[in-house]
């Protein structure tokens, strides 16, 4: 078995008395898409924020590429990116300006070529010169994805990447993601509330509830373990459990 690119051990995050993430451990292997499932407030976002280094864990360790995030933040984040439906890009800049800023921030070379390439691959030509605040929600989501893919990360954190996209674009995004994974060995932590998408995209799934991992495995394994018809039923059953 290959060495994990992401290794999380006994991760805990407390905000005062509230335990947002409670002793979770998991790995992501090279080229793997790991689904992160859970109801609202389960600790998914806090987990991703800790993995991105914007929230400090209370306990536990995060290693990426064999390096500890706390000690090697800069080297690690150079190879990591994220896209979230809930985190917009600066609204006063155009799409292209935003991409240029990100490219410079990550010290990329041949910026214009890269920007042209990602704009083309994500079908953003028609709005590349538009100010971001004038984009539709689907266009904003594509900009977020373009920003994430522009830097050619080795690990990508995606928080509901297709939430506001129409089915056609959502399908294209999923195909794009699979192609990236196939061609570059990209590893992905994928959070979504769309269970069919989760089944389609994820090699494995971890299910978070009240900060703890309550189920782990392939979609089929989890469905079988809980004796439900599909992943959606498992989600509803676990989400309603006290």
């Amino acid at each position: 078995m290959s060495t994990p690119v992401l290794h999380v051990q006994h991760l805990v995050k407390r905000f005062g008395e509230f335990v947002a993430v409670n002793d979770i451990s998991f790995d992501i292997r090279p080229g793997e898409i790991l689904g992160l499932l859970g109801p609202n407030g389960a600790g998914k976002t806090t987990t991703i924020q800790m993995l991105l280094g914007v929230v400090t864990p209370t306990a536990g360790s995060i290693q990426m590429f064999g390096l500890d995030l706390a000690a090697h933040r800069e080297e690690i984040l150079q190879q990591v990116n994220f896209s979230s439906t809930y985190v917009a890009m600066p609204q006063a800049l155009t799409v292209e300006e935003n991409l240029w800023v990100i490219a410079r921030l990550y010290g990329l070379s041949q910026i214009q070529e890269r920007v042209d390439d990602i704009v083309k691959r994500l079908e953003m030509e028609e709005f590349r010169h538009k100010v971001t605040r004038k984009l539709s929600s689907g266009q904003s989501t594509r900009l977020g994805l373009a920003k994430a893919f522009l830097t050619e990360p080795k690990i990508l954190f995606l928080d509901e990447p297709t939430a506001s996209l129409d089915p056609d674009i959502a399908q294209k995004i999923r195909s794009f993601l699979k192609e990236e994974r196939r061609s570059s060995g990209l590893s992905v932590l994928y959070s979504s509330h769309n269970m069919h998408e989760m089944e389609e995209m994820s090699d494995r799934i971890i299910f978070l509830q009240r900060g703890k991992i309550v189920a782990e495995g392939t979609a089929q394994e989890i469905v079988a373990r809980f004796g439900q018809a599909d992943l959606e039923e498992v989600f509803v059953k676990l989400a309603r459990e006290k």
Binding site: K13, F15, T46, Q49, L52, G53, V54, V55, T56, R73, E74, E75, L77, Q78, V80, N81, F82, S84, V87, A88, M89, P90, Q91, A92, L93, E97, W100, V101, I102, A103, R104, L105, Y106, G107, V131, K147
Partner: protein
């Protein structure tokens, strides 16, 4: 510290000015108004030159120098507020960007703003009040540099407080600097302050710059002592506020505040 990350942020802020009239007003409109109003007041005061020697030079010169300090502080703080308003802190700090690089970018913005505002004010002072700031001679250079650094000190301190206390504290971006104005002795000499306030004013680098400016204009004393104090205090205080900013940044990461500012 990586230059390309500082450059990325500076271009990000400069893009904002391309098509934003309110942001351009911050550079041109307010300094222009300040100068016109104060300029005409001092022209009026010229009638009493006998009672207040060099009133024009004092007031207009002081006003320009104060605006340099103010815009320098704004350059740092408003850049941070731009990130809060755009809810962009997550995008920035989930990248390899270091807090020190972020501060450096805001300081570069501060220098660019000061340069733009200075040109506006110097030209307007010449046109409306026939005033030439360069009467201060070469002393002007170290004075201005020190005021820019004092602006950074107040700007970094304000930014750290806004980061900690959230968007409700953003009013500090415009008000904090005025807390320092009475003890900066911009328009009056330090000796008019009560004794206990003079002690506090001595710890403010800006007060030494303005005292130094008055010394040059009066040709009463060499301003080198004031300049020395200003430089020393600036270096010490800048080190302290940068350390405080880093400490606050870590505190905010620990409490999850960094990603919640602006929500």
């Amino acid at each position: 510290m990586k230059f390309h990350r500082i450059y990325a942020l500076v271009t990000r802020y400069l893009y904002l000015y391309r098509r934003s009239l309110p942001r351009m007003m911050e550079i041109f409109y307010w300094p222009f108004l300040d100068l016109v109003i104060w300029g005409f007041i001092t022209v009026y005061l010229m009638k009493f030159q006998g009672q207040i020697p060099g009133a024009v030079t004092f007031f207009i010169g002081a006003l320009i120098l104060w605006d340099i300090l103010f815009r320098s502080q704004q350059g740092v703080t408003i850049s941070f507020l731009e990130e809060i308003w755009a809810r962009n802190l997550m995008n920035l700090f989930a990248s390899p960007l270091k807090p020190s690089e972020f501060l450096a970018a805001t300081m570069v913005m501060s220098i660019l703003k000061v340069m733009a505002v200075s040109v506006v004010m110097v030209v307007c002072a010449g046109l409306f009040c026939s005033y030439n700031i360069f009467v201060l001679g070469l002393w002007l250079i170290p004075f201005v540099l020190n005021l820019v650094i004092t602006g950074w000190i107040i700007g970094v301190l304000t930014t750290a407080l806004i980061m900690r206390f959230g968007q409700e504290a953003e009013v500090l971006a415009w008000s904090m600097v005025f807390l320092f104005q009475p003890i900066s002795c911009v328009f009056y000499p330090m000796e008019v302050l009560p004794g206990w306030l003079q002690v506090i004013a001595w710890m403010n680098p800006a007060s030494h710059v303005f005292e130094g400016m008055r010394a040059v204009l009066n040709a009463s004393a060499e301003p080198i002592t004031h300049l020395g104090w200003a430089i020393g205090l600036n270096l010490v205080l800048l080190g302290i506020v940068i350390a405080a900013f880093h400490w606050m940044f870590e505190l905010c990461r620990e409490r999850g505040l960094l990603v919640r500012i602006g929500e």
